[in-house]
């Protein structure tokens, strides 16, 4: 080829500037876990669910140290949607993700299985500047409201608005991720921010006032998050999946024990949210209620409701099959081996405890 | 034309036109080997085009051009050319420019280096071998161009108004240089110029061309001893005659 010599010498000249791109091959022996939240603090961590406990107490790292398998935690500022991208591009094996983003992913062809719930019946908060004239959801009409679309806050927020006779279109919604929303609220760039426990950080600094907590309107106004695994990984390493689930259940059990309450909040405080804020988020006696890993009738009903909401709000174009998505045999094995079958109470579709 | 194989350049009924515009019309000329022919004419008479056809830079024409019996189909190392804009490669020094002409010459590197040194000396540029074109004066740059044209020891050297862009004094000096090189190298030279004096001073014969369409109007023999004396009455007579030829409306010569 006549240009061969030409290209070769040009390539050599530029290759010396080429730094080794860090696309190192994925050792099959590494477990990569995506977290649909932005990691805060150094080293980056998060809080508010037993998943955080498992990460902070390095339970998985200890479990797999003997086998020489590395455990890698990846945080995503883009939350649930960004996790979907990582799943699509196969750069993670497990993921802690909210109900809506997973449904969006499943609607667009992502092949995953839900193993257990990592944080359930979590409320949505609305924060406003301290001196704002907004006191309830109804006052949000026409105001600039920050909302991170596509995350599990989205459908709960829409339901809460609908309960107060409002629609998303009647607000001037600005699409902001968690951190940008906090900054915008602090600098009064927006009038209100539909957000999660991160709002406590601003409240502690006196930069925000929380006017609404959705869980007070009943379990239907709460969002769920779960641990899922990609089909490929599950087929390739079912044994590893079982050990991950079992380890997780230990973590969930420790996080649900009221005795460990202070130690738990102290550990979660490493993510930048104060212990007092965690106390407010988890009133006494609710740890077991909030950190239950069970996939019961209530959970399945909630996922189906979110799927319907997503279709109604035109977030997805064709209905999503929720049945067959949950793979609970690993959870059941774990509960049996750890003798925790009765640790958490299952709930019926309406949210009432069963048996 | 008889098919005697001559060592020089045979131009036989050559015609050429750009689209509909006729540029050369039935030009025939036989140049003997070692002869110095000046081609004189106003702009637009096709003299530069004729030179490009001889050089082989342009092959879109009717009729035939043979050099040493061989039909001209493309450029050749046997036919050097020097342009009015010296066309030296600005990223190469003078010596490198002359060497660049030998890239495809059948010589060893040592022979090439020697040829370059010889021709730098031939055109009197010792000491300027490592100068870049933009560091040379117009006259010196033309000297390099001539050296580059000669280094392949071509059978014919074609010069397209080589001194057109130079001042009168440099032009005079380079004309003498060219004549000296011609007498030394003994090769056929064809000089295209619009300067009557230059044509007579250098040429064994002066071929006058007329424009629209380009054709040979007259061929005058300059049988005067070299180096010519510009004050020689015969020189002056010929010059006036040619100048007069220019002034009248062109007479079509058989």
């Amino acid at each position: 080829m006549s240009f061969l010599r030409l290209f070769r010498s040009v390539a050599i000249a530029c290759a010396c500037g080429l730094v080794a791109t860090t696309a190192f091959a994925d050792k099959p022996a590494t477990i990569r876990i995506g977290v649909a939240q932005q990691g805060n603090g150094d080293p980056p961590t998060f809080g508010g669910s037993s998943a955080a406990t498992v990460q902070q107490q390095q339970l998985l790292e200890k479990e797999f140290a003997a086998d020489g398998i590395k455990v890698e935690w990846l945080f995503f500022k883009g939350a649930g949607p960004a996790v979907n991208e990582a799943l699509a591009d196969k750069s993670i094996d497990f993921a802690f993700q909210g109900d809506l983003p997973s449904i969006l992913g499943r609607a667009n062809g992502l092949k995953t299985r839900i193993l257990l719930e990592s944080g359930v019946r979590v409320g949505v908060k609305i924060g406003v500047p301290p001196d704002s004239d907004v006191h309830s959801i109804k006052d949000l009409k026409g105001k600039r409201v920050g909302l991170f679309r596509g995350t599990n806050l989205h459908t709960v927020a829409d339901n809460a608005l609908a309960k107060n006779g409002l629609e998303e279109r009647e607000l001037r919604v600005i699409n902001l991720d968690t951190a940008s929303a906090l900054a915008a609220l602090a600098s009064k760039g927006i009038d209100a921010s539909i957000n999660d426990y991160h709002l406590y950080k601003l409240r502690d600094q006196g930069l925000a006032r929380i006017i609404y907590e959705s869980q007070n309107d009943g379990p239907q106004f709460t969002r769920q998050a779960h641990l899922l695994v990609t089909d490929d990984f599950e087929h390739a390493h079912p044994d590893i999946v079982q050990r991950v689930v079992t380890t997780f259940v230990k973590g969930a059990q420790w996080s649900s024990d009221e005795a460990n309450r202070q130690a738990l909040f102290k550990s979660w405080a490493r993510s930048g949210v104060s212990e007092s804020s965690w106390n407010a988020e988890f009133p006494p006696g609710t740890l077991k209620w909030r950190n239950s890993p069970l996939v019961d009738a209530f959970i399945v009903a909630r996922y189906k409701a979110v799927a319907q909401d997503a279709l109604k709000l035109k977030l997805i174009r064709q209905p999503v099959q929720v049945d067959g998505w949950f793979e609970t045999r690993y959870l059941d094995n774990a509960l049996r081996t750890l003798k925790l079958e009765h640790e958490w109470t299952p709930y019926d579709a309406a949210g009432k405890p069963l048996g | 034309m008889t098919s005697v194989v001559s060592e020089g350049v045979d131009i036989d009924r050559v015609s050429k036109h750009y689209a509909t515009l006729p540029v050369l019309d039935g030009v025939s000329l036989r140049i003997r080997a070692g002869e110095f022919v000046s081609v004189l004419g106003a702009s637009g008479c096709g003299k530069s085009t004729l030179l490009r056809l001889i050089a082989g830079l342009d092959t879109d024409h009717s009729g035939e051009i043979r050099v040493a019996g061989e039909r001209v189909r493309d450029t050749s190392l046997q036919r050097g050319i020097v342009f009015q804009d010296h066309r030296l490669f600005p990223w190469l020094t003078a010596a490198q420019n002359v060497l660049a002409a030998l890239r495809n010459a059948p010589l060893s590197l040592a022979e090439k280096r020697r040829a370059v040194a010889e021709h730098i000396a031939l055109v009197g540029l010792e000491g300027f071998e490592n100068a870049y074109p933009h560091e040379l004066s117009g006259g010196m740059a033309q000297r390099v161009a001539i050296a580059r044209g000669l280094v392949n020891r071509p059978r014919v050297l074609l010069l397209d108004e080589p001194f057109g862009a130079l001042d009168a004094q440099t032009r005079g000096r380079l004309q003498n240089e060219l004549q000296r090189i011609w007498q030394h190298e003994r090769i056929t030279m064809v000089l295209v110029t619009h300067d009557v004096d230059e044509a007579i001073y250098l040429g064994d014969r002066v071929v006058t061309m007329a424009p629209r369409p380009g054709r040979i109007e007259r061929i005058a023999d300059v049988n005067l001893p070299r180096p010519r004396e510009r004050t020689d009455p015969r020189y002056v007579a010929l010059r006036d005659e040619l100048l007069a030829g220019f002034a009248q409306s062109p007479i079509v010569q058989p």
Binding site: E85, A88, N108, F148, R149, G150, S180, R317 | -
Partner: protein
């Protein structure tokens, strides 16, 4: 002049002239050539999805992207977002270009003003639009003003520099000639400097728009709730790649169309002037 290099390359190979029949085929081939690459890519894309080589969530099939495009158009979202984007880019572009023309003229006219202002202008120009984003996010918040300022900044830079260059390119000979005829300073500016500067200004305006359009997309990607750039982000968050691709195509098409229009306008402006000033 542009094809000369290649012509001679081919002449160097001495190709033999083709007969009329093959020449007609070559002409046809030549006319279709620009569409070969896009067609090949499209076929590869369509086949890839059809055969399932690529998972739909990685690369949605063309039919789906087209359906999304039609849905966007019918639902009025396309028009709504396009209008908002155009409104933003036009406001920013007009503000930036006017600012640039004024600043450039001021710089061009008075050397002292230039001595004071140009170094600072250069320093600010070093920092890209994106560099200013976090700074402005804090100062101005996420609303529309942020977008207008950033787009105006993006347009201001090429407009200013082109105007300055326009003034600098005025041949000194013309200025002297006008002085000979007793032109006052103002007359010189209006009758000599401006006509000469027009072609460079025209290029500056075209560049200003291209830069404004690029800045618009960036700003809408990072912080917005409406606009074409937002459609891309929205698609990304809902994990609907077909929406993303449809939005990218729209952004590209509009950018391309407007650039071509400005090109044509610029050419017409330049054609009116003797090439000396080109």
């Amino acid at each position: 002049m542009s094809d000369t290099v290649i012509l001679h390359l081919e002449a160097a190979n001495n190709q033999i002239p083709t007969q009329t029949q093959t020449r007609r085929w070559r002409a046809l081939g030549w006319a279709l050539a620009p569409w070969v690459l896009p067609a090949a890519l499209f076929a590869l894309w369509w086949l890839g999805c059809e055969r399932g080589w690529i998972a739909p969530q990685i690369l949605p099939p063309p039919a789906r992207v087209y359906a999304t495009f039609v849905e966007l158009a019918q639902s009025g979202d396309l028009l709504h977002n396009t209008l908002i984007s155009l409104q933003r880019v036009l406001c920013g572009f007009v503000a930036g270009t006017l600012g640039g023309l004024l600043l450039g003229t001021a710089l061009g006219l008075s050397r002292t003003f230039e001595a004071y202002v140009l170094p600072s202008f250069n320093a600010i120009v070093q920092i890209p639009v994106l560099g200013w984003l976090p700074f402005l996010l804090l100062l101005v918040g996420v609303g529309e003003p942020l977008k207008y300022i950033l787009i105006a900044h993006a347009a201001l830079v090429p407009a200013t520099l082109s105007t300055l260059q326009g003034f600098r390119n005025v041949p000194v000979t013309l200025l002297e000639a006008s002085r000979v005829f007793g032109y006052t300073r103002w007359q010189r500016i209006v009758h000599v400097v401006l006509p000469c500067a027009v072609p460079t200004l025209a290029t500056g305006v075209r560049l200003a728009f291209t830069k404004a359009w690029l800045a618009l997309v960036v700003v809408e990607l990072v912080a917005s709730s409406e606009g074409l750039g937002y459609l891309i982000v929205y698609g990304r968050q809902l994990f609907q790649l077909d929406l993303v691709m449809a939005a990218v195509v729209i952004v590209g098409a509009i950018g391309f169309a407007i650039n071509r229009a400005l090109d044509a306008l610029e050419r017409r402006l330049r054609r009116g002037l003797p090439s000396a000033f080109r």
